[in-house]
């Protein structure tokens, strides 16, 4: 068996392919209801729902969702510097094409459409589901790339618990994570706090100024703090009420481009978010319902000033506030042993106010959205299951075309080999900036319209509880029309238009294996994603790969544990990216890069407390790389982390 384990890893190295995650793929859209009968395996209807493994969540406790997804998921994260704005590309789409929800409410900015993943602390999330492609419609419309569903739970069954984590890292980085919670069988509370700050003044070789000198990054410091408070009430097995509040603020200086040699500039961004969500879940026999309401208030202040001989000249001092109200109702009912009906109704409202104090320009806008989704799941046999859904949205009283979506899962060989496929249409609304930005906003924009499909095979092998191997390959294709692109009008004036048609195709493959032998536990996950995202011309000829979307991405994660000691190793490969609409390997393309991270830790019980001490090396081989053109990234750096739990 030892040999077998070694061979599995060796095969993996030889084929050098990719990862992961497919451990528990359940459509887990409920919190923690006891004694709910589950009929059928819901994973069968989910062609591409991946639940990030709890081990990976645990390993990234101090990091942001951007860090975790970059290392563990078939998505691409683009960031200008550690701690700064991090945006996602799922299945070759833009940042605004990935919808993100937390405890039932959307957290995409209605102003920009996107989410800054560097501002989502893993410490605040207990469950991360990645719904790629057509299945994103299970969570509503808008996710042309996909949907990331985050959940923060309570810890039922624990009367009182708490933890404190302290991290010290390179570049004067300090982080504290603290939590406490507890309760009885019907009431639970949980409070989490985090604070992180960093000078972020990492050294780098400046190859852009002609001096080729080693300099320290300037004006990249940041501080972030957040508080999450949750309360749960479960009077009996049928009801669960939860109230969740997530408050956060961050202050981030924005560093200059590497070629900057000017007199001085000051650029920063301050963000604050208030997110409150309340849920009431009811489950009785074959019926399950969930009522959810929430509000979000996002504030974003941006400031840019240049030093001049005559003092500081403020270029921009922009203040924006986005407010959203969400109301959702979801009900599901097993009509029979083989039929499950789901209905989802939502009514949301967004309001944005933005003003540049410097120029006095800005806009106020709002938008109401209502919609209904009906979904039928059919369990034909124990091996064959399908779903079909249809959604109708109305935006500001105008009707969006119907969103249909279908999917199937068929087990060729029970519990060994499964075929999954899904297809559907989806729409993504223009953001409020697209519509109303001054100057250039275009109120006549149409929603982007996507036709998405994927098909995949999922295989699983295991031998008792000693080893387990899962592998998956999924091919996908998306045809997106009315793709919104900001283009220059005549002379300096940019304006968004429904210009492009984009064809995306590719595949994701993943492998996950774990071995448990004597005192040794080994886990290996890897994934590889190939993504071709091309604009089509009027005659449907394929043009260049869209900018900043890598064709190849691979990640590997290895976990070894023996007794109290553990070792985690992660590897990320990102292929060359174009920054030009010409697919040309030139100075306008960014070279591929590989990043390695390793950490070594020890878990120990001490004075009745559980402790975990680990040391981590990031960018192990000191790679010199850029994620965004001429934006410096740090070389090798370190952190040490101590967690105490009771």
């Amino acid at each position: 068996m030892k040999l077998a384990a070694v061979h599995i890893i060796a095969i993996f190295i030889l084929f050098g392919s990719g990862i992961p995650l497919h451990a528990q793929e359940k459509l887990n859209d409920t919190l923690r209801i006891k004694a709910v009968s589950i009929r059928g395996n819901l994973s069968m209807t989910s062609a591409n729902i991946r639940q990030v493994d709890s081990l990976e969540i645990q390993n990234n406790q101090g990091g942001s969702l951007a860090d975790l997804l970059a290392k563990n998921a078939p998505v691409f994260i683009k960031t200008a510097a550690p701690g700064s704005l991090a945006t996602i590309s799922m299945r070759g789409t833009l940042a605004s094409h990935t919808q993100v929800s937390w405890n039932g409410i959307r957290i995409n900015s209605p102003m920009l459409g996107q989410v800054d993943f560097s501002l989502i602390p893993i410490f605040f999330t207990d469950q991360i589901q990645i719904l790629s492609g057509p299945v994103s419609t299970l969570k509503g419309s808008g996710g042309l790339g996909g949907h990331i569903d985050l959940a923060s739970h309570g810890k039922w069954g624990e009367a009182f618990y708490g933890s404190l984590t302290n991290t010290i890292g390179s570049f004067k980085t300090y982080r504290i994570l603290a939590e406490a919670g507890g309760g009885g069988s019907s009431f639970q509370t949980r409070v989490r706090l985090f604070h992180e700050q960093s000078e972020n003044d990492f050294p780098f070789l400046n190859t852009a100024n002609g001096l080729f000198n080693r300099v320290k990054q300037q004006n990249a410091d940041f501080s972030k703090k957040g508080l999450m408070v949750q309360a749960f009430y479960q009077p009996n097995a049928k009801h669960l009420i939860g109230i969740h509040a997530w408050l956060q603020s961050s202050n981030r200086s924005l560093p200059p481009i590497m070629s900057y040699e000017g007199i001085g500039r000051n650029e920063y961004q301050n963000d604050s978010q208030i997110r409150i969500s309340a849920n009431w879940q009811f489950a009785s026999g074959a019926f399950n319902s969930k009522l959810n309401s929430g509000i979000t208030v996002d504030r974003l202040d941006y400031y840019l000033a240049h030093q001049t001989g005559g003092g500081l000249l403020v270029n921009y001092q922009t203040e924006s506030i986005s407010q959203s109200i969400f109301n959702n109702y979801q009900g599901s009912l097993y009509l029979s042993e083989k039929h499950k009906l789901k209905v989802h109704i939502h009514g949301n409202y967004h309001k944005v106010e933005i003003i540049d104090q410097k120029s006095g320009s800005g806009y106020n806008a709002d938008r109401g959205e209502v919609g209904i989704q009906v979904m039928m799941e059919q369990f034909w046999t124990r091996q064959f299951k399908t779903y079909a859904l249809i959604q109708q949205d109305w935006i500001q009283k105008s009707q969006i075309p119907l969103i249909p979506s279908i999917g199937l899962a068929y087990q060729f060989i029970p519990n060994l080999l499964e075929l999954k496929a899904s297809a559907g249409r989806n729409f993504h609304l223009p953001t409020l900036n697209d519509l109303y930005w001054i100057p250039g906003g275009n109120p006549d924009l149409l929603p982007e319209e996507g036709y998405l499909a994927d098909i995949g095979l999922h295989a699983m092998l295991s031998a008792d509880s000693i080893w387990r191997l899962e592998a998956e390959i999924t091919g996908f294709a998306s045809y997106i029309d009315y793709w919104i692109l900001w283009k220059p009008g005549e002379f300096r004036y940019w304006s968004p238009q429904n210009l492009n048609t984009v064809l995306i195709k590719g595949f994701e493959t993943s492998i996950h294996t774990s071995v448990q032998l004597n005192k040794i536990e080994a886990k290996l996950r890897a994934n590889y994603t190939l993504t071709h995202t091309n604009q089509l011309d009027s005659e449907n000829n394929t043009l260049a790969q869209l900018i900043y979307i890598p064709i190849h991405k691979a990640t590997v994660f290895l976990h070894l544990a023996r007794n109290a000691y553990y070792l985690n190793y992660s590897y990320t490969y990102t292929s060359e990216r174009f920054t030009s609409t010409e697919e040309e390997f030139s100075l306008h393309s960014l070279p591929a890069f590989s990043l390695h991270q390793i950490s070594l830790g020890r878990k120990q019980a001490l004075l009745g407390l559980n402790t975990d001490l680990h040391f981590q090396i990031n960018n192990l081989f000191n790679a010199d790389y850029q994620s965004i053109l001429w934006r410096a990234m740090p070389g090798r750096h370190y952190s040490i982390n101590l967690t105490i739990q009771f």
Binding site: G210, E261, T308, E490, F491, T579, E582, H596, W630
Partner: protein, 359 residues
């Protein structure tokens, strides 16, 4: 098991750590004599500005010549270039610096760092040149030989294009401005100013010694307000307005005023801020003896998007760039002085300023 795992782990890490560096750039040695420099602005905040050179002896364009000669990029938003003998000065606007470059080898010779947002460089003499600045409310004076800043001219507002006339430099106040300043180059003092329509962006002096100023009028929603675009003819000596020629469309945005070698015809680009097409956009030519706008463009824009224009001071060949979607290599079109298309070529990202090197 343990040993094997450790060995495999090492092998694995080594395998993954291979490769992925940027290939060495194509370093080259240049020796050029006559041709046209094209400053490719690059995208704001991308740091991808570049220098192209059109060799007039071979008719071939070479892109990225600065990178190829020096191994590092120009920087973020290269804006203009001024040639003085074998030396050229390139303002790199959003990198806050000016590079001096040898015009024959394209080798970097020096840097004037510590600037705010440099726009144009105006040579006054062998020892004196001015730098206008988008943000700074002063013009810096430097010695082109030593690259040292020697003086500061307080202007009270930002400045854009400059022209020399006798012992004076005229400077437009373009960014949210509406004035033309008259600066005495002997004393480095602002001596006079005159108000024109909003946002004067470019100027020329004609054969009659009149100063022509082109204002784009600003845009709707601008804190300065919006004005009709205009050509203002000024007596540079008395600083009186001789004529104001208003453009008919308030959303029009003319720019890039130039004059031919014989200084009897002016040229400018005319389009719209908003992309409206209720007037004919393109390159316009107008006699300096006229005070009426031409009805039709001299070189119609058609389905192109004209970005910047340059006129060869010797041959009067007209160069017009088209930045396309701003995300790929832009085109440069060459026209005869009569407006007939000669040829076109691909420069690099957002071809803007043209500078002419003559033997």
């Amino acid at each position: 098991m343990n040993k094997n795992l450790v060995i495999l782990l090492f092998a694995f890490v080594l395998l993954l750590s291979l490769g992925c560096e940027r290939e060495d750039p194509e370093f080259r040695t240049f020796s050029k004599s006559t041709g046209v420099f094209i400053i490719n602005e690059g995208n704001f905040t991308y740091g991808n500005a570049s220098l192209s050179f059109l060799d007039l002896t071979t008719g071939e364009i070479d892109n990225q010549v600065f990178y190829k000669a020096n191994g590092f990029p120009l920087g973020d938003v290269a804006f203009s270039m001024t040639i003085s003998d074998s030396m050229a000065f390139i303002s790199i606007n959003n990198s806050g610096k000016i590079f001096s470059v040898n015009t024959r080898t394209f080798k970097h010779q020096g840097t004037i760092a510590g600037l705010s947002s440099p726009r144009y460089i105006q040579l006054i003499s062998k020892t004196k040149a001015y730098i206008s600045d988008l943000y700074s409310t002063s013009i810096l004076v430097f010695d082109p030989g030593s690259l040292q800043i020697t003086d500061t001219i307080e202007t009270g507002r930002s400045t854009e294009q400059m022209v020399v006339w006798n012992d004076y430099v005229f400077a437009t106040c373009w960014s949210f401005g509406n004035e033309v300043l008259k600066i005495n180059t002997l004393t480095n003092q602002v001596e006079d100013s005159i108000r024109v329509n909003n946002q004067p962006n470019s100027m020329v002096i004609d054969k009659n010694n009149n100063l022509w100023v082109l204002s784009d009028g600003g845009y709707e929603g601008s804190p300065l307000g919006v004005d009709y675009p205009a050509l203002t003819v000024i007596d540079p000596d008395k600083m009186d307005v001789l004529t104001t020629v208003l453009f008919p469309n308030i959303s029009g945005s003319p720019n890039n005023l130039l004059i031919n070698g014989s200084r009897d015809s002016i040229f400018f680009l005319y389009g719209s801020w908003t992309g409206e097409t209720d007037f004919d956009s393109g390159a316009y030519r107008m006699s300096v003896n006229s005070n009426e706008l031409p009805d039709d463009p001299f070189i119609p824009e058609k389905n192109r998007l004209y970005y910047r224009m340059g006129i060869d001071p010797v041959y009067s060949t007209i160069y017009i760039s088209d930045a396309l979607d701003y995300m790929q290599k832009g085109f440069v079109f060459r026209f005869t002085p009569d407006g007939a298309l000669i040829d076109s070529m691909r420069a690099d990202r957002i071809p803007g300023f043209f500078a002419f090197m003559t033997e």
